[in-house]
Symmetry: C2
Subunit: 268 residues, 2 copies
DNA sequence: GTCGGTTGGCTTACGGCGTAAGCCCTACTA
DNA sequence: TAGTAGGGCTTACGCCGTAAGCCAACCGAC
């Protein structure tokens, strides 16, 4: 008696409430808020006020659903007014706009970005972070029509992908840290010959791999840089402040420019 | 009566058989063969001839075990004779050797590499693919002693990380594809407005995110490039052969060189 | 030699997961 | 108005990570 906004009475079972889009959107919400691991079929269904098995009427498998979430993220490029579908202002402008669009969606969904980057592709050249045949086609044909020969197109494609992949994974990774936990804040030595005293180590964080801690409220407690053994890692300690600083914004544009220079330099 | 090499009889329960190292090594074996998702506590234990709960005497949690696996991979750098711990032949040689060492371990463990790249870090600057305080210290202090000022060290550190991350994720991703499945080989349109007919879609592949199909024997069946709608993606179709080609080896060295040029160009 | 403690296995059990199978109400179509 | 298909629900299975506790084998002290 309280919640049905639309037509006839409705026992709460009205068909058609669910749809692929609605499910994928809700899943993305959960991932953004609590990480990939929290997006279980039961959790997604429950947020939709529905039983888990109902989702299977729309997605044959959780993997397929996650693929749809990835698609949904990538498709944010279609809505991005800054991103152009063709090179009206030259290939450089086209690629720069595309790159900034990708960065925008990567930063909008830091918990989901590892999904975009690591989910296995259907073919070896359907690369993250584009991951959509339509956008790949757009990029290849645009460069082609800008006078790139085939080798140059392929070189640009691979440069573009690996640059964005690396930069954005680094940047989004820096924002989604492991849960720092309460008690001892010491790190595992990890690099050298570690005898490992006992069972000191972090806690939960993720499940399979790309799952990332909730973080939400972290970001302050991470700085006790005196936790690190100063004697063992003097340079890290000296540069700690610089390492923690976030120049990603400015540096991205500069690095992007250099990557584009590299492409330009390869043109005949 | 058959398998005990060492001391007294042994009912098969002799303590000390298990160790952190042995467990981590076995886990890495399973991951290399069958992907991260296959490395369940029960599966690992069973390969060791032991019950799952016994592993918890050595690792408090599966996550901690996976961290140890990542450490183990990164520590392959320590054994790599091509990688030097200091810049006896200059910083360029040092970084190039380090980069090639990282590439070596990335390609040696393509199923595990996404784990290295996406596992949340303890601090925002403990970046993949180095992920070890000892190696980070080594790199920072080496560059420092080579005359880099602090800003230059940090710039080099970030360039190095993001370059390797992007390039190697692209390369290892190209080798670990989704299971192509038997029946219809058509892709999901994914990019444009896809109405999506029914439930056609791939099968199993992964679990959380970084899990990747077993692949082992794939790599042949991936080429039916006529599956792609030629009309919709003419440029992809035209470039399909080039896209499928693998120049990663040569291109890595060239791209690495350019990245190092970029660092050199930033020096005062 | 015996004996207590510690170590490193094992057993049991719980709740959550993805999902196969099948039911049944509702809404649309003829 | 009957028939049908779609979209929910229920039940159940086998796997997962792991908490709790048990017990044999070893080890150092007497």
């Amino acid at each position: 008696m309280s919640s049905e906004p639309s037509s006839s009475a409705g026992t709460g079972r009205r068909p058609g409430r669910l749809s692929r889009d609605l499910i994928a959107e809700t899943t993305l919400e959960i991932i953004d808020e609590q990480g990939v691991g929290a997006a279980s079929m039961r959790a997604i269904a429950s947020r939709l006020g529905v039983e888990a098995m109902s989702l299977y009427k729309h997605f044959s498998t959780r993997d397929v659903l996650l693929d749809a979430v990835v698609d949904r993220i990538v498709q944010e490029l279609d809505q991005d007014p800054e991103v152009h579908r063709d090179a009206t202002d030259g290939w450089r402008d086209y690629l720069a706009r595309l790159a900034r669009g990708v960065r925008r969606y990567a930063l909008a969904h830091p918990h989901a970005f590892p999904l975009v980057t690591t989910r296995p592709a259907e073919a070896p050249w359907v690369n993250p972070p584009l991951r959509s045949l339509a956008w790949i086609e757009s990029m290849l044909s645009t460069l082609s029509s800008e006078g790139f020969d085939d080798d140059e197109v392929l070189f640009a494609y691979r440069s573009f992908n690996s640059f964005l992949l690396g930069y954005l994974l680094m940047e989004s990774g820096a924002h989604t840290l492991r849960d720092p936990q309460e008690g001892d804040g010491s790190f595992a030595p990890s690099g050298s010959n570690d005898p490992v005293p006992g069972g000191l180590s972090p806690t939960r964080t993720d499940e399979e791999a790309a799952e990332i801690a909730d973080a939400e409220t972290t970001a302050e407690k991470i700085d006790p840089q005196d936790d690190i053994e100063v004697a063992d890692y003097p340079t890290i300690h000296r540069l700690a402040a610089g390492l923690a600083e976030d120049h990603f914004g400015e540096e991205f544009d500069r690095a992007l420019d250099e990557m584009l220079d590299g492409i330009a330099g390869r043109l005949a």
